[in-house]
């Protein structure tokens, strides 16, 4: 399999990846946010499919999800909104959500819809790898979709190897054991952790998420990895300033 994620990861430049919640702030903002991100040079995009009970998310993303659901967001609507995605950009796009939404849509149908829109990968934090491997891996692969696992500082080496085995393209490295948006800056503990995983020389690349909010934290994390994902900080920004103010946010991360 060789999709847009793999292609981008082959380039040496560090990746700035942005997470946002589909259907937020307004129902039909999804594609417009993507356009803004692309226009401002973002390297990769995670589109969050909002869920009623987002266990792994902090308050910022949860609130955006609640609002998006109120706005009428759904899996079906998301795929409609993204049907012309590939007419506006070629950056890798990943759908991130909770497994129940996928399950109810039908895993096969969900993957088909993703492929049709030009989605490159799926992050489902609550889909266990053993079940993925036993039941769904072939479907993902059939539709050219990268399965992306998460690891945390508490994940054992043995487990990391299993996750590396199951994953395709990159591993989403949670900077510290915490829900999204709850940490402030990185200390020596996190840096040691980044280095430790880097030194494991896994088959997948590493991208860091959770806790990146400015250029300093970005640079710290990117030192040992292929780049970073920013979620809560971006959502906070557009909540306060509007999605048209995406430019200064991205600029502050990519200034160098």
């Amino acid at each position: 399999m060789q999709n847009r994620i793999h292609q981008r990861l082959q380039q040496p430049e560090k990746i700035v990846s942005i997470y946002f919640t589909a259907g937020y702030p307004k129902r039909d903002d999804t594609l417009e946010v993507i356009q803004e991100l692309v226009n401002n040079g973002v390297d990769m995009i995670e589109v969050g499919l909002p869920y009623s009970d987002p266990l792994a998310d902090g308050p910022t993303i949860q609130q955006s999800s609640t609002q998006a659901l109120k706005n009428g967001m759904s899996s079906q609507l998301l795929f409609e909104q993204l049907k012309d995605l590939r007419q506006i950009t070629s950056v890798p796009v990943i759908v991130m959500g909770y497994f129940n939404a996928m399950l109810q849509y039908g895993v096969k149908a969900f993957c088909e819809s993703c492929e049709k829109c030009g989605i490159d990968g799926i992050i489902m934090p609550d889909l266990p790898i053993d079940i993925y491997q036993a039941e769904y891996q072939s479907i993902f692969e059939q539709h050219q979709l990268s399965f992306i696992s998460l690891i945390t500082p508490q994940t054992s080496d043995e487990r990391i190897k299993q996750l590396d085995e199951a994953s395709n393209s990159f591993i989403y490295m949670v900077s510290s054991a915490s829900t999204t948006g709850s940490q402030a800056g990185f200390g020596q503990t996190e840096l040691d952790y980044f280095k430790r995983i880097h030194d494991m020389r896994l088959k997948n690349k590493l991208i860091v998420g959770f806790g990146i909010k400015d250029q300093t934290s970005f640079d710290q994390a990117a030192q040992y990895t292929s780049g970073c994902i920013i979620g809560s900080a971006y959502i906070k920004h557009i909540t306060e300033h509007g999605l048209r103010q995406t430019k200064p946010f991205i600029k502050s991360l990519k200034e160098q």
Binding site: D53, Y98, M102, L103, P125, D126, P128, T179, S182
Partner: protein, 387 residues
């Protein structure tokens, strides 16, 4: 970790080490003599076990059958919930944990958790929906008297489901020193199994007590209300593999199946994932979890434990749903016929006589899972007891 098609551990990787640690340890700990000794001692001296198996003479006469009540309402803190929290706090100590978190709906599990934390001198944080905090004020007071911190869950419907989300988030953020005491047979494996095993003492006692009273260990029916299903799991446990015993589960129909205000999961739900477990679940077509409704805050949950989902799907158990109105009337009837004011959750189980008849020589064992003191305001308002 599966019950037929249900169960498993559908959890974010951030939770994996916590759950895995528990999963690797729990069977060994539960089986150890040291744990058993401490657990049984606390159940006896602190919780007040064995709870009686009480033959309800007047109720039996009214319904022309033999009705026994397993008196979990007499447990310390007023419900079966404490069997589980006593077991889990002993487990948490063996795992070296220094901090306990829990979710609570009506507050009974929160009180039971705060209680064992006070007993052991361990820090305790209980997540509770902001709406529940308001409508279950006495239980909030009890938790605070016991020294626990009560943190409001302000997301979603601000009830049990959301409190559970918050507790899980806390656990994610505190992966090493904290043990999460789930209150029902829900959540990722091993919780449903762990909680069921800790509640199994209920049916173990029933067997022995029934033998003393009736010369048989085998009732014809065991009956319990099911929200998440921990009291039901406890009273079914020893009888699950005995086909002579009919298992009856009573769900909260709320205002009626078709009203949109119901919590009858097996009638309104379908397979899905909630709180890390694959089970029957009330959800919309997109898999968004829908808000349940029941007059009872303890049954106001959109799922059921995976064990119960499997009992339903395999037809091992008979599922009956009863409305708010029938449950409230059954609560009043038990109060005035036997002098036992049940929790509104528990009252649901006693409402089955409208739906179901029994022979005069059949032995029914109800789990009288909790006392109704916490529900007095609701009863009083409903029946206009005070002018």
């Amino acid at each position: 970790g599966f019950y037929g098609n249900f169960g498993g551990a559908f959890i974010p990787e951030m939770l994996y080490p916590n759950v895995q640690e528990l999963n690797e340890a729990y069977t060994t700990i539960l089986a150890s003599n040291d744990f058993k000794k401490d657990f049984n001692k606390l159940l006896r001296d602190y919780v007040g076990r064995p709870t009686p198996l009480y033959f309800a003479e007047r109720l039996s006469e009214r319904y022309q059958t033999k009705i026994y009540l397993k008196r979990e309402d007499l447990c310390h803190t007023g419900a079966h919930k404490i069997n589980n929290t006593v077991g889990q706090i002993l487990m948490a100590k063996r795992l070296g944990k220094k901090r306990i978190i829990a979710e609570t709906g009506a507050g009974q599990h929160g009180v039971a958790t705060a209680t064992v934390c006070a007993l052991m001198g361990i820090e305790c944080v209980v997540y509770m929906g902001a709406v529940d905090i308001k409508r279950q004020a006495p239980n909030v007071s009890r938790m605070k008297m016991l020294g626990a911190t009560v943190k409001p869950a302000t997301s979603g419907s601000q009830t049990l489901k959301d409190a559970t989300n918050e507790a899980i988030r806390d656990w994610i953020n505190n992966p090493t020193d904290t043990h999460y005491i789930i209150g029902s047979v829900v959540g990722p494996h091993p919780y449903p199994d762990l909680v069921a095993k800790l509640q199994a003492v209920i049916s173990e006692e029933v067997e022995q007590q029934l033998f003393e009273k009736e010369g048989t260990k085998v009732p014809d029916h065991v009956i319990a209300c099911v929200g998440g299903g921990s009291n039901a799991a406890g009273i079914y446990y020893q009888f699950l593999n005995n086909p002579e015993v009919n298992i009856i589960a009573v769900e909260a129909e709320g205002k009626g199946i078709l009203t949109g205000e119901s919590a009858a999961t097996t009638r309104l739900g379908r397979s899905g994932i909630i709180h890390g477990s694959k089970t029957l679940l009330m959800q919309n077509k997109d898999g968004q979890i829908t808000e349940p409704y029941s007059i009872s805050a303890g049954l106001d949950y959109p799922g059921i434990g995976p064990m119960h989902a499997n009992l339903f799907e395999s037809k091992r158990a008979e599922f009956i749903s009863v409305t708010d109105e029938d449950a409230m009337k059954a609560g009043l009837e038990l109060s005035q016929t036997e002098g036992i004011i049940p929790a509104i959750e528990t009252a649901h189980a006693f409402a089955i006589f409208k739906e179901r008849q029994f022979n005069h020589d059949e032995i029914l064992v109800f789990n009288c899972s909790g006392r109704g003191d916490k529900d007095l305001q609701t009863y009083t308002d409903y029946f206009k007891l005070i002018d």
